[in-house]
Amino acid sequence: MFKDNLNTELNKLKVDEALLNKTRQRIRDAQNAAPDQIIERKPPLPSKNIGVFFRTHSILIAALLTGIIGLGLFSAVFFSGLLGTSKSTDMKMPAQDVDHNTANEKIYTGDINSDSFEAYDENETRLANADEEDACLFSIGEEAPDIGIDTVVPSQSSIRDSIGLSDEKQVTLFTSQPSAIDRSVTIVEYRDPAPETRKHTPLDQPELPLIEIVISDITDIDAPIILSSYWVPGYFESAVIVDGYLYIAALSAPITSGAADDIMLQFAIDDLPWINIETVFALSDTIQSYAIIGAIDILDAQTSPSGMEPQFFVAVTGGILDVSIGEDEIVIRDSAELSQDAGEELVIRFYTDPTLGRMAP
């Protein structure tokens, strides 16, 4: 009875030709656009060809290497004599007027209280420093903070206590003081050596690190005021500050609970400042992991006069997700070979809407 009634009601709705035509047109547009969006990948050089290349050009390669080494030795001896002593501790932070387009390509790392900085590749740096406490990374496009680390480390101890974290477990991964505004951003990742002591564990995965994003008002450099603190479960991936917005990407562990809508429920833990996931994009039907992408209005960190949320987080589900974060877009790619949609990409561009604030597509 119910089944018949339901089917009768459902069958009243039929597709009309106008909708089909519109769909046909959009499919044609999508299929025509597709070739332009394909990322051309260079095929790997077969190992056989590499071997043949080295065998046939071994003498030339040896001569070239010898020349390079000789030139390097000569330069070292010549310049050490010409310039006298040169100590690494005299190295200064490079000029900050770097082309904005190159921001985030390199990161400076070192003791924040020291004048010594060394440039590394971003990925190497993150990996090398991930386990070092008090290691700080600075985006090259941003002004290096000249404030002590203690003044910007999250100090909302009541919140940390409520989760069961302590100061000793934190790793500071990102700190930046955007130029021209009196706000600082610090991102701390908590890797808990004893996760079972936590009082709350997101996604029932106690081993998952917790990321805390802290926006501080540093108008008075000696007495910074923490404006906002956002908590994200997962592994810190990358962050960049553009036009007063902090864009952050984090990767999380595989979901074991299945349905994507459970993500929202499990983040909505009362009494804790977990982020709210506004939208879940399914990059593929295979949910093995998810990326959390967020945009935080640094200038609007504490209060939102317009009533808008100053932060906006979305999650992307799929296979193993690779995330790259740039100045105007965040690209998430499904790289799981077992995933049906391996190779699929999702580009998220945040944009400012005058009525809705910072949004995702």
């Binding site: 119910f2 089944k3 089917n7 459902l10 519109k22 769909t23 046909r24 939208t279 949609d341």
Partner: protein, 194 residues
Amino acid sequence: MDKPTPSGNHNQTPFVFPDIEELFELYSNDILRVCNVYLRKRCLAEDAFQDVFIKAMTRSQTYRGETPIKFWLMQIARNVCKDYLKSAWFTKVGFYEDYAETEAGSSGFPEIADHGRYDDEENRIIDDIDSDSDLMIAVKALPLKYKDVILMRFYYDLSTSEIANQLNISENTVRSRLFRARKMLSPYISEDEI
């Protein structure tokens, strides 16, 4: 109900993905109806309908024939509709007709509800909404997970184990969801129909 015959690719013959016209012929009504139930609005359902078939055609190479196409399409439709429902746009932007109906009801000025019905297309959409029976209103008001099981059981004629397989949940969960859905739809469904 003009439902297609389920067609998986369990044999070894090479599988050829059907062209869009064949998909339209077989599955278009099903997908539009499913989207309409999930999204509750004809206009949104039509947008989602387009997205479902665009995804299906642009990702047809990823279809491996492990499940019948109609279930594959339904899975895409569920995901698309969920994305719609969770999008900030959907959560932060209301529909004018909702506003108009509320205003008209509260102020007693029915002309407010008529304001904005400025073309035939919109009239048709609003008429469609107004034409929903009590049963459809109740079904559309169900939470998503209950809509899943109700549609699969009563529209797609799937067994409990098939529903569990499609939704990647246990059969017990399916049964409990069906039970709760039946409670919610109690004026329209009898106990022996679950």
